[in-house]
Symmetry: C2
Subunit: 260 residues, 2 copies
């Protein structure tokens, strides 16, 4: 007989939260009240673009993904693994969350491979090939809260830039072997908007049939489509629940629930 | 009867090694051959100063210590905890060293307090008040190699900049409760130079009496004096052995041995 798995919450936060002191402190307050096992995943794209501008480096994006030149890789390592991650860790420790900042290179937790050049050369962008879930479980079982930034490596000495939404859903899928995983994408809106032009009405639930239709009808914003795609992928791979919304979804059944 | 403690090697590397691909790869090769328990500590001051210059920020030093403004704190967090630390971790993992990058904020491992303003205001510089040695021991016992950058925190949400030599000697003192600690300061010379103008002759050993005399005679460079002071402090607090020299000291009894 299979034992009941314990719950694990994987919360991904967007760059627009990291960027704003009040939003960040509200988020950490919410997160500190979540008493079950938890993992935080963050990006920092807006901060990385701001630093690039200061350094006179051009930021090139393709379909919302950063083209990661050698210089851009240095920028994202500095911003994601350095400033953003350690600011989070220090604020979380102050709220008695036993946070440990991690990249995929640390303890070889997330191994990726450099994306093959097809029509677009994404540079040092990494596609995840392996998540060391039993090792992450050991940390979680010790009461540690892993905080992952959006940096991975190829285990041959090359750091790589990996989309934070993808890291969150890959972690959710891998950790489902050990936990009942609830994946939460926290961003600036209350949920998936019914109308891109207005932020006051959200979908309470979206299933995969709705998703196909909503995409067809052009209702969804470009930004939300990859998030939802990641969400459906995760649900198909045994992740228990996926929600998208503001920091209120961390402790409450709010926002948009994504269902198969 | 006291049980014999296991050896632990704490190796501190300077910024001029991080900066140079060949030196760094030689260092990691040496370090990977050290089969006993080990911890790496690194700074990155030269890289931080280079980034400051690119950003048009002024670098202010006083007696070799950085005056850490809010902007400089961001720079050192980006460089030490981000680029330098993750470059090391990824290179070490490629050599099968199970490295885990850490700041003092992670797991609240090294708590510091903001240095009080006396004649000089060092800004966000942190003086160490507590090292969580039993937690670091747990990591080391799991076969993990902790890699500390020179960032600490006050456990109230403030990150702080702490000298890497001081972090290394404080770690050495704290870990002496659990291990026979050997502290190794690796830099560009073969050891402590007998003559600042020539790099071919080094002291094989320096004791505290020699140190007083050498300082009086003006034989020692300004850079080596705080390193030696840290070394004598560590030896007085039960650290087993201290050596200063090139990466050859990691696996061999070379360089300058510091004795009480």
């Amino acid at each position: 007989m299979e034992r009941t798995k314990k719950p694990l919450h994987i919360v991904k936060i967007g760059g627009d939260i990291l960027d704003n002191k009040d939003r960040l402190s509200a988020l950490i307050e919410e997160f500190s009240q979540l008493k079950e096992a938890k993992i935080l995943v963050h990006g920092g794209g807006k901060m990385a673009s701001a630093l690039s501008t200061k350094l006179g480096l051009e930021v090139e994006m393709h379909e919302g993904r950063r083209i990661t030149s050698k210089e851009q890789l240095e920028v994202v390592c500095m911003v994601y693994a350095g400033l953003a991650n350690k600011t989070l860790i220090s604020s979380m420790q102050a709220k008695s969350i036993d946070a440990l900042g991690l990249s995929g290179a640390d303890l070889n937790l997330i191994q990726a491979e450099k994306r093959a050049v097809q029509t677009i050369d994404y540079g040092f962008a990494g596609d995840i090939v392996q998540v060391n879930s039993s090792r992450i479980k050991d940390l979680v079982d010790l009461g540690v809260c892993p905080v992952f930034c959006a940096i991975t490596h190829d285990n041959k000495g090359q750091l790589l830039n990996t989309n934070a939404d993808t890291i969150a859903s890959s972690l959710a899928v891998a950790m489902s072997a050990h936990f009942e995983v609830c994946l939460k994408f926290v961003f600036t809106h209350e949920g998936v908007l019914k109308d891109m032009q207005r932020s006051d009405a959200i979908f309470e639930e979206i299933n995969s049939t709705d998703f196909v239709q909503l995409k067809k009808d052009g209702v969804l914003s470009q930004g939300i489509i990859p998030k939802l795609t990641n969400a459906f992928d995760a649900l198909q791979e045994k992740v228990q629940e996926v929600r998208i919304g503001s920091s209120a979804i961390i402790n409450h059944d709010k926002g948009t629930k994504v269902c198969l």
